[in-house]
C-alpha cells in the first residue's frame, strides 16, 4: 500500500507508464478524468446548496417578521443589488416569491442532483466497478460545463428586469407565462441547459455500468450504491425529456406568443393577442411526469451511500441484498406512473385519481422494504461510531418520518386537506434535508480520505452532526402541525392575514401558537446555517492539515474504490482488476481479517 500524498486532486504522472505531464488548465479545468470532474461537480454543487440555503434564511426573516427590514446589513445589500423589490431592506412579496422559486430550483437542480448523482457518482462509480474511467470521458467534461452554464443563467436571472422566476419551482402556467419580465425565460433557458447536462451524464453512467464492469463484477456483486446510481440514471434519462418538451413549449409561449398552456378566454393577461386553446393542465402533467421521478433521483443515491457506509461501519453484510436490488428496480419502474398524485386538486375525475392513488400506494412498498432491510441489517452488528456513521444512523429514522408522512398526501381524500400546506413542505424536506443531505454529508466525511489522504476532524464532524440534527428537526417538525392546522405554502408574511389575532370574527384562523411557530422555525433555520460553518471550515482545513491516513483503506472496506492508491491515479488501478466475491464480505467466519476486499482471490 502506498503512502498517501498531500494533493487534493488526482494527477497524472508518476504512476503511469506512458503519460505526459498535463498543464494546469488540462489537469483541473478541462479535465476528462472522472475523479476531477466529480470534485468539480462536488464543489460547485456545495456552493449552490449554500446559496440556496442563504435564500431560505432571508425568506425565513420575512415569514417571522414580515414588513421589517432584514438585519445585519443584508436588507440594504439586497436593496442596492436588486432595487425596489427590497425597498428599505424589506423583502417584498414579489422578491419572496422569486427567492422561493429559485430556492427550490437551485436546491433540486443545481444542488442535490449534481452532488448526489454527478459528484459522488462520478468519483465513486468507476472505482467501485473496477473501471479505468467513465465510458465517455469527453462527454463527462461537457456535461459539467453545460451544468455550469445552466447555473450561471439561473444566477443571472436575479438581475434581470422583473427579477428571477417567481411562479415557484413548479412554474405553473398561465401564471409563469404572464408575469412580466424575463426571469421565467431565463429559468426556462437555464433548465434546458441543466436537462441537457443531466441527459449527457445519465447516458454516461448507464453505458459505464453496463459496459465497463471489471471481469468477475457481475450484476449481483455490484455495491448497492452502483445499483442506486444505475436506476437514478434511468430516471434522469427517461423522465427529463418531457420536461424539456414542456420547457420548450412554455418558452414558445413567452417568446413566440403561442398558447400551449394559455386557455381561451383568459382575461387580463396583459400580453396582447393570444390564440387561446391551450391547456394549463398539460403543463402540470408534463412537469410532474419529470418531477415525480425526480424526487427518487434525489433519494436513491443517498440510500446507496447510506448502504455503503452502514455495511462498512457495522462490519457485517447488508441484510437482504437481493431484496434491495429488486426493490430499487421496482421503485424506478413504478415512479413513472404515480405523477398525478401531485394533481389531486385539479379536478381530474375520481377514476383517474384512484389509479394514481393505487400506484402511489404500491410504490411505498419497495421503499419500506429498502428501509426495513437497512434497519434489519443493524441487528447483531458490531456498530462502529464515527461521523459518517452518525449521519447514516440519523438518516434512517429521518427518512422514515419523511416517507411515512407522505402517506396522507398519497391518499386523494386526505390530500385535499393537506395539499399546498406546510405539511407538504415538512414532508418533502424531511426526506431531502435530514434525509438526503445527511447521507451526502456522510459521503463527504467517508470518501474525503480517499480523495485527499487525510481524515476530516472527528470532533468538528460530531459538532456539525449534533447541531444539524437538532436544528433540522427544529425547523421541520413544527411545520407538520402548522400544515395540519391549515397554514398555506408560499405566504411571504407567514400567514398573518389568516391569523385569528388579525381576524377575530373568522372561523378557523391560524392560532397564535401557530403563528408563533414561525419565529421558532426561523431561529432554528439560522442556527442550522451557523452549524454548517464547522463543516465548511473542517472541509477546507483538513485538505492540508487533517490527520493523515495510515493506509489506502483506512475504513477497512471491502469495495474496490478503497483498493487503489490514494488518491487514485489516472486510470485508477495499478494492476488489472478481477472480482472474486460480493461487495459486503465483512466478518466472514474463518478469515483472519474482518473484511475481505472484492478483488482478493
Amino acid at each position: 500500500m502506498q503512502a498517501s500524498t498531500t494533493h487534493a486532486l488526482p494527477h497524472a504522472g508518476e504512476h503511469e507508464a506512458h503519460h505526459h505531464e498535463l498543464g494546469f488548465l488540462q489537469k483541473y479545468i478541462f479535465s476528462t478524468d472522472h475523479k476531477v470532474i466529480g470534485v468539480q461537480y462536488g464543489i460547485t454543487s456545495l456552493l449552490f446548496l449554500f446559496f440556496g440555503f442563504c435564500l431560505m434564511m432571508m425568506m425565513r426573516w420575512s415569514i417571522a417578521h414580515p414588513g421589517t427590514p432584514i438585519p445585519l446589513g443584508i436588507g440594504s445589500l439586497l436593496n442596492k443589488a436588486l432595487g425596489d423589490v427590497a425597498d428599505k431592506g424589506i423583502m417584498s412579496a414579489n422578491l419572496y416569491n422569486s427567492f422561493g422559486a429559485m430556492h427550490g430550483t437551485i436546491m433540486v437542480f443545481l444542488g442535490i442532483v449534481p452532488l448526489a448523482f454527478a459528484a459522488f457518482g462520478n468519483f465513486v462509480v468507476p472505482l467501485q466497478i473496477g473501471a479505468p474511467d467513465m465510458a465517455f470521458p469527453r462527454i463527462n467534461m461537457a456535461s459539467y460545463q453545460v451544468y455550469v452554464i445552466g447555473g450561471v443563467v439561473m444566477l443571472v436571472s436575479f438581475f434581470m428586469p422583473g427579477g428571477a422566476a417567481q411562479a415557484g419551482w413548479t412554474s405553473y402556467s398561465p401564471l409563469a407565462t404572464v408575469i412580466p419580465g424575463s426571469g421565467q425565460t431565463f429559468w426556462l433557458v437555464g433548465m434546458i441547459f441543466l436537462i441537457t447536462s443531466s441527459l449527457l451524464g445519465a447516458v454516461n453512467f448507464l453505458a459505464t455500468i453496463i459496459q465497463l464492469r471489471a471481469p468477475g463484477m457481475t450484476w449481483m456483486r455490484l455495491p448497492f450504491f452502483v445499483w442506486a446510481q444505475f436506476v437514478t440514471g434511468f430516471l434522469l434519462l427517461l423522465a427529463f425529456p418531457p420536461l424539456e418538451a414542456a420547457g420548450i413549449m412554455q418558452l414558445m409561449d413567452k417568446v413566440a406568443h403561442t398558447s400551449f398552456f394559455l386557455p381561451t378566454g383568459l382575461a387580463a393577461t396583459g400580453i396582447g393577442h393570444i390564440s387561446g386553446g391551450g391547456s394549463p393542465l398539460l403543463w402540470q402533467h408534463l412537469f410532474w411526469f419529470l418531477a415525480h421521478p425526480e424526487v427518487y433521483v434525489l433519494i436513491l443515491p443517498a440510500i446507496g451511500i447510506v448502504t455503503e457506509i452502514l455495511a462498512n461501519n457495522m462490519r457485517k453484510p447488508i441484510w437482504g441484498y437481493k431484496s434491495l436490488v429488486y426493490s430499487v428496480l421496482t421503485i424506478g419502474f413504478v415512479s413513472f406512473i404515480v405523477w398525478a398524485h401531485h394533481m389531486y386538486v385539479t379536478g381530474m375525475g375520481t377514476r383517474i385519481s384512484t389509479f394514481f392513488q393505487t400506484t402511489t400506494m404500491i410504490i411505498s412498498i419497495p421503499s419500506v422494504i429498502i428501509l426495513t432491510c437497512l434497519f434489519l441489517s443493524l441487528w447483531g452488528a458490531s456498530i462502529r461510531i464515527n461521523t459518517p456513521m452518525l449521519f447514516v444512523l440519523a438518516f434512517l429514522p429521518m427518512f422514515g418520518i419523511g416517507g411515512l408522512t407522505g402517506l396522507p398526501l398519497g391518499f386523494n381524500f386526505s390530500d385535499l386537506h393537506l395539499h399546498d400546506t406546510y405539511y407538504v413542505i415538512a414532508h418533502f424536506h424531511y426526506i431531502v434535508a435530514p434525509g438526503t443531505i445527511f447521507a451526502l454529508f456522510a459521503g463527504v466525511y467517508y470518501w474525503f480520505p480517499k480523495m485527499t489522504g487525510r481524515y476530516m476532524s472527528e470532533f468538528w464532524g460530531k459538532v456539525h452532526f449534533i447541531c444539524s440534527f437538532i436544528f433540522m428537526n427544529g425547523i421541520f417538525q413544527p411545520m407538520f402541525a402548522q400544515g395540519m392546522a391549515g397554514m398555506l405554502r408560499r405566504m411571504y408574511d407567514g400567514g398573518i392575514n389568516y391569523a385569528s389575532a388579525s381576524l377575530p370574527a373568522a372561523v378557523g384562523g391560524l392560532s397564535d401558537s401557530n403563528i408563533h411557530m414561525n419565529s421558532i422555525v426561523s431561529i432554528a433555520a439560522w442556527c442550522l446555517g451557523l452549524s454548517q460553518l464547522p463543516f465548511i471550515f473542517n472541509f477546507f482545513w483538513s485538505i492540508n492539515h487533517g490527520k493523515k491516513i495510515a493506509s489506502d483503506n483506512p475504513w477497512h472496506s471491502t469495495t474496490l474504490e478503497w483498493q487503489t492508491p490514494t488518491p487514485p491515479p489516472h486510470g485508477n488501478f495499478t494492476k488489472p482488476v478481477v472480482v472474486y466475491r460480493g461487495p459486503y464480505e465483512y466478518s466472514v467466519p474463518g478469515k483472519d481479517k474482518d473484511y475481505t476486499p472484492q478483488n482478493e482471490p
Partner: protein
C-alpha cells in the same frame, strides 16, 4: 461489433435494405392516397394513418437500425421507454377526458 465481416454476406443485407427502401416509398404513397379516401370516422382515419406509419417505423427500426438482430439489452431499454411513453400519452389524455372530470355546478 457486428458479426458480419464477409463482403458476400453483406450483399445479402444490401438486398434487404433495398427491399425496405421500396416498401417505405410504397408506404408513403399509400398514406397520402389513403388520406383522400372519404371516410367519415375520425378514429378510423387516424387508425389507418398510424397503422401505416407504424409499419414504416418498424421497417426503419428493424432493418436500417439493425434492431431485428440486436441484443436483449437494447430491447430492454426500448421496451421500458415504449411503456413509459404510452403511459404518458394515455394517462394524460384520460385525465382530460371530459367524462371523467369533476364539474362543480
Amino acid at each position: 461489433m457486428s458479426d458480419q465481416h464477409d463482403t458476400a454476406d453483406f450483399q445479402k443485407h444490401v438486398k434487404k435494405y433495398l427491399f425496405v427502401f421500396y416498401a417505405l416509398i410504397a408506404g408513403t404513397v399509400l398514406t397520402v392516397a389513403a388520406s383522400y379516401l372519404p371516410i367519415e370516422s375520425v378514429a378510423l382515419t387516424v387508425a389507418i394513418a398510424l397503422f401505416i406509419a407504424c409499419i414504416k417505423g418498424f421497417l426503419v427500426a428493424g432493418w436500417f437500425m439493425h434492431l431485428i438482430s440486436e441484443r436483449k439489452m437494447i430491447y430492454g431499454i426500448l421496451l421500458a421507454t415504449g411503456f413509459f411513453v404510452a403511459g404518458l400519452m394515455f394517462l394524460t389524455v384520460w385525465s382530460m377526458n371530459h367524462n371523467s372530470m369533476i364539474h362543480i355546478k
